[in-house]
């Protein structure tokens, strides 16, 4: 396909494998290197095992939920400014408020478009 890597690594932490596959495809086409995690434990391992430029984090992950992971990230001085996009199926104000309080940079509510995801990643990584 001939996609040129931007040298930026994005972790997609989402337990729905087909959605992970689609998001990986479009973000890869946009030039990003992709890592994936299908549950909270795998996400935690990846976050502290390799350098990342952005995390796309689903709230309702099995084993360890997204808010807990976000809290751990912001508690680590090395990861304080790592951009995080929170994905959730709930658009309720309390989840937005929680995401903001835990330190999320952006909040996307399912069902979102591919365009919205790519735009959000581009905005946070370039910013």
């Amino acid at each position: 396909m001939g996609v040129v890597s931007l040298g930026k690594r994005v972790l997609i932490a989402e337990d729905e494998p087909h959605l992970v596959e689609s998001l990986s495809f479009i973000l890869n086409r946009a030039g990003y290197d992709i890592e994936t995690a299908l549950d909270g434990e795998a996400a935690v391992q990846s976050i502290w095992a390799m350098p990342l430029d952005l995390i796309i984090l689903d709230v309702m992950l099995p084993k360890v939920n997204g808010f807990e992971i976000l809290k751990k990230i912001r508690a680590d001085a090395r990861l304080k400014s790592l951009p995080v996009i929170v994905l959730t199926a709930k658009g309720q104000n309390q989840d937005r408020a929680m995401a903001k309080e835990m330190g999320a940079d952006l909040f996307l509510t399912k069902p979102f478009s591919n365009k919205a995801v790519v735009a959000a990643v581009e905005e946070l990584i370039s910013g």
């Binding site: 087909h18 959605l19 689609s22 086409r29 069902p111």
Partner: protein, 523 residues
């Protein structure tokens, strides 16, 4: 609660009969000007004059003594507490006049209010359920995630022009798989809501049954006679022992009794300590159920089966029961009534009641029933030629919620929620198992003797929660000296009296230091 103003009713009836004030006054032996005062609700009417007036107007005394109006007025009083009517500044004191002039409109208003409360409570419960039900929460999340996956794959197929055949097939497959999963989630949601719809229970049946019992004065002579006949035929007229009841149930209906360890029963089966296994013709009891509960449930089962026709006769053409749920609830209430009549036969129970001066604990011990069952029976002693003290009955759980009630004239009992926190029914929780008595005075000046005791509905064990309820009986203070609970009480001395209200919201005691909520009017 003010006394019922029946003057308006007298006036409306007189006018409907085309009678002048002067003519009616002459007929009943009073002056026209005095009748005018009565009709304007400026004078009370009772006793002999009330009887004569009822006769002159061709009315039953019951319809003129104000009992029906008082009950309607209680309902309307509650209605004035509704927040949506706050701006209207409705004066509860106007209720009697309204009822007297427009009784059918008053009844229509009360019926509509009940339906509104019912639907509001249901909506709140459903909303709460939607917000906190884990199944719904997961289902919505799964559904939206499936939709997102389908959308993402669809957009790729639509917007990426250089997909190879393999990639195209891959995203086609994703759409297919996610669509199937979405269908499965949707089907589960539909099934969930189907079940929820079938199980929705209206709050109205409880109130309809309350009304049904009240209209009958909680006395059913047909059931009393049927229970007495069963006792005479089966148990030689004596109160039935547990063994007698078990034998009767087995011989007459082929029902066996089984005791099982609590650990072998589900929570649903443990409700009321008893499970009616109709498929196998057995009543299954937990080994932790109190003896009195077991005996009562066996008696109730026998009453349901042996006195079914008598119970149906009481419910036949009962227009107050507008749903199957209400009918079934009333049927259960009547089978409990009949069980009480079998375990505590009327004549002997009344005799012992008077002899023991309403000592409920001794009565319960003598008849081997629970405190609550004995209290229930005391409320039913209404046989015209052999009557006990008229009592109100109220049961509250440990959260303070009123779970069962039978009201008394001039003593309003809360329909739902809590009564005034000063009532003995609540102070009884402070000393479990001990009777708390109280001389209580309403803002109207009406005084009542309250006596209450907390009790556990289940046998306590080390590892299980013991749910406590509190049972209270209340009677007009004029009867206090006929009971042991009135001994030593000076019913007219202010120092013995506890000033109470119905509930904070409806109470006019503005300076009460125990007030938990602002009243609907005043302050």
């Amino acid at each position: 609660m003010p006394r019922a103003h029946i003057g308006s009713k007298i006036r409306e009836r007189r006018k409907a009969l085309g009678q002048t004030q002067a003519a009616l006054a002459k007929q009943v032996g009073i002056s026209a000007s005095y009748l005018n005062l009565i009709e304007a609700n400026k004078r009370q009417i009772g006793g002999h004059l009330l009887q004569k007036t009822a006769t002159a107007l061709d009315l039953e005394l019951d319809s003129l003594d104000g009992a029906v109006e008082r009950r309607l007025a209680e309902h309307l009083h509650e209605l004035t507490a509704e927040p949506i009517l706050k701006n209207l500044e409705l004066d509860p004191a106007g209720a009697f006049d309204f009822i007297g002039r427009y009784p059918k409109w008053a009844r229509a208003l009360v019926t509509t209010h009940r339906a509104l409360k019912d639907q509001t409570e249901l909506a709140a419960a459903l909303s709460d359920r939607l917000n906190h039900d884990p199944f719904l929460s997961d289902a919505v999340h799964n559904m939206l995630t499936n939709v997102t996956a389908i959308r993402s794959a669809s957009e790729i197929l639509e917007t990426v022009s250089d997909l190879d055949a393999g990639q195209r097939a891959r995203f086609d497959k994703i759409i297919g798989n996610e669509s199937q999963r979405l269908s499965d989630v949707a089907a589960k949601l539909a099934a969930y809501f189907d079940k929820a719809g079938a199980e929705m229970r209206s709050l109205t049946p409880a109130e309809e049954v309350d009304d049904f019992l009240w209209e009958h004065g909680n006395y059913f002579p047909g059931l009393e006679a049927a229970a007495e006949s069963l006792l005479t035929g089966q148990f030689e007229g004596q109160p039935a022992s547990e063994a007698d009841l078990i034998l009767a149930l087995a011989r007459r209906h082929g029902i066996e009794i089984e005791d099982r360890a609590e650990a072998d029963l589900t929570d649903l089966m443990l409700r009321n300590g008893c499970h009616d296994d109709q498929a196998n013709n057995r009543l299954i009891f937990s080994d932790t159920v109190p003896v009195t509960t077991k005996r009562f449930q066996i008696a109730r089962s026998l009453a349901e089966r042996s006195l079914g026709d008598a119970i149906k006769a009481e419910l036949e053409e009962e227009q107050r029961l507008t749903s199957k749920a209400a009918y079934n609830r009333a049927s259960r209430a009547l089978s409990s009534y009949a069980a009480g009549a079998m375990l505590m036969p009327y004549t002997s129970f009344l005799k012992d009641t008077l002899g023991l001066r309403y000592d409920v604990e001794r009565l319960a011990h003598r008849y081997q029933v629970s405190f609550e069952q004995a209290c229930h029976r005391l409320v039913t002693l209404k046989r015209p030629d052999a009557t006990g003290i008229p009592f109100a009955f109220i049961r509250a759980d440990a959260a303070g919620f009123v779970t069962k009630r039978f009201p008394l004239q001039r003593l309003p009992l809360p329909r739902l929620g809590h009564a005034c926190p000063l009532w003995a029914v609540y102070t009884a929780f402070q000393s479990p198992g001990m009777i708390m008595r109280q001389l209580a005075e309403l803002p109207s000046g009406d005084r009542f003797l309250f006596f209450a005791r907390s009790a556990s509905k289940e046998q306590a064990t080390f590892q299980t929660h013991r749910p406590l309820v509190s049972i209270m009986l209340a009677c007009d203070s004029i009867y206090a000296d006929q009971t042991i609970y009135g001994d030593g009480l000076n019913v007219s001395a202010p120092s013995f009296v506890t000033p109470i209200g119905p509930t904070c919201r409806l109470c006019s005691r503005e300076t009460c230091r125990y007030r938990e909520e602002d009243p609907i009017i005043g302050v």
